[in-house]
Amino acid sequence: MVEMLTPLFVILCPLIAAPLILLLGKWPNIREGVTIAASIATFSLVLSMINPIVEGEVIRISFQTLLPGVAVGFKVDAFGMLFALTSSSLWILVSFYSIGYMRSLKEHAQTRFFFSFALAIFGALGIAMSANLVTMFIFYEILTVSTYPLVIHDQTAEALSAGHKYFAYLLTSGTFFLFGLMLTYYLTGTTDFTNGGIAALAALNPVHKWTLIILFFCFLLGFLKAAWMPFHSWLPTAMVAPTPVSALLHAVAVVKAGVFGIVRIVCYIYGVDLMTSLGLGLALACIAGFTMIVANLFAIAQDNLKRRLAYSTINQLSYILLGAALLTPDGIKGAMMHIPFHGYMKITLFLCAGAIMVATGKKNISEMAGIGKTMPVTMLAFSVGALGMCGIPPAVGFISKWFLCAGSVEAAETISPVMIIFLFVLLIASLLDVVYFFPIIHTAFFKDPEGVAGEPKVKEAPMFVVIPLAITATFSIIFFLAFILRPVDVLAPYVDMLSMHIYDLVDIASGNVFT
């Protein structure tokens, strides 16, 4: 346990950047400079916390509140670090990307866009580093409200109704979260995330079994940002937002905040033992399994690329939920590492979708015939992301899926034989992933565009757009290589540094869960 002010500085960066962006709205170059500077500062500060955490420390800072036993506090442990690293590193890339994207499309209200974006990152980082449910709730609501202007950015009737749907789902879910956290506080007198779960909550088990079960479902409803079915429909609708928003927020920050919260509840509020004895693992696994299959079936039917990606996100989020629901070390490892890995891969895919829109204006997959020849870099990156979604090496999606499969086998051995079903669910879902991602690649590379004669010219999107997506695609492979090369002693330090110690963090975090 170390007391450090760093977590506070981390969230202060985007918080200070936001009003500056608003004030400097008249000078776009300086305004964007603020965004970039804040994102780099944030990421460096987050990186500076890695070393103590890899050594097994927990960084915390807290302020006492009026409610006895509750401190508005920040605690950076290995798991929170994973989420913080993902969102802060991707913020830099997406900032560059947004500049290219927004300027190429000559979007309106760019100041509002960058302002809300910074606030949303503030919310996401706050969630990642919060020490208890109260702090998490504060940032969770900030995240919801600050993303609204981004969703309705177009200000068309369609965008506004998407925004209303977004609010209706997420703020209603917020009230369930609030109820859940107040009930937890009332029952136990604390809401801190504790390794192995809150003991006072577990002590209620046999007598107040149903209270605990209802409370758990309140939390599940509270974290609708995880977009589990049947409460998922806000996410595809929110795809009317500009692509950078869909990329960072609706593939990484917002939805990951939901799954992050559920994993926090499962592992750090309820704890694995209590979850097992209440049979809630199986219930959550069923929800996750259902979502994985059905979301994939929906995805197959989409022609709009961003909507297809949205359904794929819903599916992949449930991989994480399933991993947590398995309640076995490998399953939870798989869930935790899928948070950054899916973040990197899915953002690649969305950035590619945006690049295609910038370069050609096309939104539907059926129009994308032969696009691989005109935009080779973009589509190569897209292929890497798509492979990752399907869990095929050399993309890193394979590793998390491997752990999830191992976890379900483990669960079948230790918890109940029924859990073996989820191995097949995982495999079927992966198969379905292939069914809808490979046709895109096929269309892009092997189909000739209609009505265009001669050799197509290479016409990529601007550099600001292409470079970030190339970087995220590269990292999706680097993470995979890092896993393979880690056992080699000579390379280990370098590999770990390059992969931001993600595997170390996952090991420590899962170690914390099973104390």
Binding site: Q64, L66, G69, E141, G163, T175, F179, Y186, G189
Partner: protein
Amino acid sequence: MVLTEHFPVLVIVISMFAAFTILIAGKVNKKAAFPIALVTIFIQLLLSLSILKRVLTEGTIHYWLGGWSPPWGIEYVIDTLNAFVLVVVLFMSFMCVIYSKRSIEKEQPRNIVLFYVVFQLLVTGLCGITVTGDIFNLYVFLEISALAAYALIAVAGGRALKASYNYVILGSLGACFFLLGIGFLYAVTGTLNIADLSRLLPPLYGNRAVQAAFVFFAVGLSIKVALFPLHVWQPDAYTYAPSVVSVIIATAMAKVSVYALIRVIFSVFTIEFIDTYVGIDVALCWIAAMGIIAGSVLAIMQTNLKRMLAYSSVAQIGYIVLGIGLAPMSAWGLVGAVAHILNHAIMKGCLFMAAGAFIYKLGLRDIRDFEGLGKKMPYASAAFTIAAISMIGVPPCTGFATKLFLILASLQATETLPVSGYIFVAVLLTSTLLNLAYFWRVIDRIYFVKSEEGDGGGRETKKADVPLSMVVPMLILAALCIVVGILWLTKVPLPFIGQVLTDLGAGVLPQW
């Protein structure tokens, strides 16, 4: 210091003399009215801050008017609660005075002097209610402030006259009930001093006259605070009054009436009395819960912004009364109620000021005409948005703190009321969503909905923000929405809250 000892009475005397000074000086020069009111209220604010500081360090202040010892003379008693309310009232009045200069010059150019005279009288009445320790004196000040308020509303003329008339009838009815209550208590105990009453009453709790007196107080004050379903005078009054009058009566005046209700329940009577002899606490909770839902639903149905805010006030008063009703079951209830006195004053003050600004500059009252307002009046719109988000209860704004305390109180109340406790939680959470429904509609219009005639072609979107003297109070209140919200979450108010609970005999904060 000799002088500081007289601060409690000075707060009122200065104010009353200022009212007459304004009248005379105004005859000579119309422009003198505003500075006199401004300076007086500023001095009053400083006095109230010094009183608050003294109360927090030295404990309750007892001031004997004219040196007559109670229960024969009138006594002013200031404990932490009324020191706090006094500061809130004078702070809001101060903000209103700054705001009023340009607003009233535009809306009531011919009545400027009279406006400030009556305004000053209203402030006198409100301060009087707050500091007095004598129940009959409280009634007198209640009437002074009410009469001033009737006049201020009627100043606008037209439909405001009818609104004011309704208010006169219902307000007087409320005052009659209150007076009857006082009469009953005096008949039984022979004293009017609150401290004396609270000493003499406990053995008489079984007495029917005492119980009837309580019911009279409760009904009378319910009309004054506009508790659902006795709120019928309030929407019209808030809607048709001049902008600045809406601000003062929706914040300072409503809060003082709530204070009087708390004082009667907890100081004249005790928690024990309402819990065991009348059993009114649970009834209060239910009425408040109904008010929260009904007020919010009615607010959703409005298209006039000020009217919508008025109905929203009905709901918010419900929050405070719910907190009061929960007090016997959980100390958090009273914490929520007291916190919301400040929170609601700040939020609603800011919202009404923004509504007034929209009327001042563009004459906009109907929400449906608000398209593109965010570009035309950036500061007023921003202030409105922050306050509205705070009303919805998005953390870390002030509304969230209230919600937190009240939910906790309701959960604790489940120990005695297993089912209704959870219903109150559900009501609080639902009201969040209802608040969202009616406030977001406005914010959407202000910022996001494109107007039908295109974007106005650039010329129309020229900034047309209101004068600085109106913007500054608005922005101060908007900033306070966030700052105070954060403060409630920290440990800063803990000693103060603890002292209020002790003074009112409402238990101590639970320690886990």
